[in-house]
Symmetry: C2
Subunit: 170 residues, 2 copies
């Protein structure tokens, strides 16, 4: 199993202005990269809020939504499983899958970071500053996870940059 987080952020490290902020500010080139990435994944994982605001775009992909609204797990349809991360070890649920894509938001990225489960990270940096908003990760734990940059490339002329990192195993 390989777990890959994918995120777009401003150059000041914000992934959204607030929890209901839809990602309408990212570049078309990043959205295209996301679509190509989604087609490669066996399953994607999103938090409840991310699913609420982006669920209609993710509907065709096999996905797990993390939510405390179910006791443990509940299959809604062939493509959608609800999973309570407080009562279920998400890793166990993911075991059948080879390529897992983590799409956010902050709480979901942080859940995988805290458990040292992020193997790779695709990070798109848009050339804009929000000045406030949601961070990529938010944990009180000491992390310090180190990554290696595998590649970096501009996605367009205005200066969106895509960085691809893999975790360095200790």
């Amino acid at each position: 199993m390989r777990i890959i987080a994918i995120a777009v952020m401003t150059l000041d490290g914000r992934i959204a202005l607030h929890e209901r902020h839809f990602t309408d500010w990212s570049s078309p080139e990043d959205k295209q990269f996301l679509r190509e990435f989604l087609q490669k994944t066996d399953i994607i994982v999103v938090g409840y809020n991310t699913n609420e605001i982006a669920g209609h775009e993710l509907g065709t992909y096999n996905r797990i939504v993390l939510t405390t609204a179910v006791a443990t797990t509940e299959r809604k349809n062939e493509a959608l499983l609800l999973c309570n991360p407080e009562t279920v070890d998400v890793r166990t649920v993911l075991e059948p899958y080879k390529l897992v894509g983590i799409l956010g938001g902050t709480w979901t990225y942080t859940y995988f970071l805290e458990r040292d489960l992020i193997d790779e990270l695709y990070l798109t940096i848009e050339p804009v500053i929000f000045g406030h908003g949601l961070d990529l990760f938010a944990t009180a734990k000491d992390i310090g996870t180190k990554f290696r940059l595998e590649s970096e490339k501009p996605l367009n002329k205005k200066g969106t940059v895509l960085l691809h990192y893999t975790k360095i195993e200790n």
Copy 2:
């Protein structure tokens, strides 16, 4: 006058773990870039905390320290001016200088961002995650300032990346 902010952050957008956290985690290549940058500036601006933890390294450079410990301005020595940003328009103090370097921390970067005074930004991204800590900017104001990426280059093999942005004038 040209105002250039220069900062190093983790890939999750943190510039330090806490206010007294010295930048001992950035790469030698970033430190070398900073030294070369400092030699080009006519004046550098830092906040009180940044000066406390990095002042001995900045001692040879002409600098302004933002602090509320003085009523307006107070010249400490030939190279060091204390300036209270609550009572003095910092822009006026900077007027004699051509190339101004803003070195942080969060409060100082934000002061210049809120007043739309950042013309350029050199942003070094180290391939590490803190998961918490200080953000590059922290403002309640709506910002949305857009930048153009002028250049991006890896600084070393482990994957430190230097991004150079210039503000897009509206």
